[in-house]
Amino acid sequence: MKLGAVAHTLRLEFLVDAAPDTEVRDGYVSDLLSDVLAHAEPGDLWLTHQRHLNVVAVGKLREVAGIVFVRGLRPNPEVIQKAREEGVNLLVSQDDAFHTAGKLHRLLFP
């Protein structure tokens, strides 16, 4: 399913919609950067509470479909700017990690 459609259904707000046509294949929830580099898969939608600059680098390195900040958390403008430069999709979910992941799972694997 395309990221744009996922965002619409789950009511995720785009902070950076660099490539909304990106295919979302699966999801991954983690706040540990090296864990994401080791275990997330390309095409995963990455749900996290981390919102500093390195998150953009990790998302790009692991080629995730997008990064979702949960619980309404917002990164600072510098992070958004960096994501735009690097072409990394950034989104915000008003739900917490558990509920965002639950809804995403139901959508991707009905």
């Binding site: 706040d31 580099l37 080791a38 390195n54 680098a57 990790v58 390195l61």
Partner: protein, 156 residues
């Protein structure tokens, strides 16, 4: 590892310790350079992850150092050298889960003890030489596979 393949590119990137704001920039730049040189996407991907982990360790645990990128026809090499305190037990540091990251770094998502294991999983050869009080040199060799087989992306 001795190979007759000629050196195509050599570049040195300085890394400033404890400068978390700039951390991660070298890996992005290294990937850009490798892509420009026409290095295969799989080798670019693996080199990016190796570089990020090596760079982050330098930023978190040392006052700084440098990363040397060497590109050959058959491989990419990354050499990380720092002027830090050194690693007391290199075998222990290579174990998944081992970490001495301070609390402030853990709050930012570092300290799962997966950095060096990730470097190993994404390189074909990883050499760590460390001297207490002098610093650490890590050399990672990433072979360029023309057939583009996916391997070593994860550590399990």
């Amino acid at each position: 590892m001795i190979s007759p393949a000629p050196l195509r590119h050599r570049e040195i990137f300085p890394v400033v310790g404890l400068d978390l704001e700039r951390a991660g920039l070298v890996s992005t730049e290294v990937q850009r350079v490798l892509r420009r040189l026409g290095v295969e996407p799989e080798a670019v991907r693996r080199a990016g992850i190796v570089c990020f982990e090596g760079e982050m360790n330098m930023v978190l645990y040392t006052p700084g150092g440098r990363i040397i990128l060497l590109v050959y026809d058959d491989r990419v090499e990354l050499i990380f050298s720092d002027r830090g305190a050194g690693i007391p037990d290199v075998e222990l540091a290579r174990q998944p889960g081992y970490s001495t990251a301070p609390d402030w770094a853990r709050e930012l998502g570092f300290g799962s003890g997966m950095g060096i294991p990730n470097m190993e999983a994404n390189s074909d050869h990883l050499e760590i030489r460390s001297r207490l009080g002098e610093g650490t040199v890590i050399r990672a060799v990433i072979l360029r596979r023309k057939d583009e087989t996916r391997s070593g992306s994860t550590h399990s």
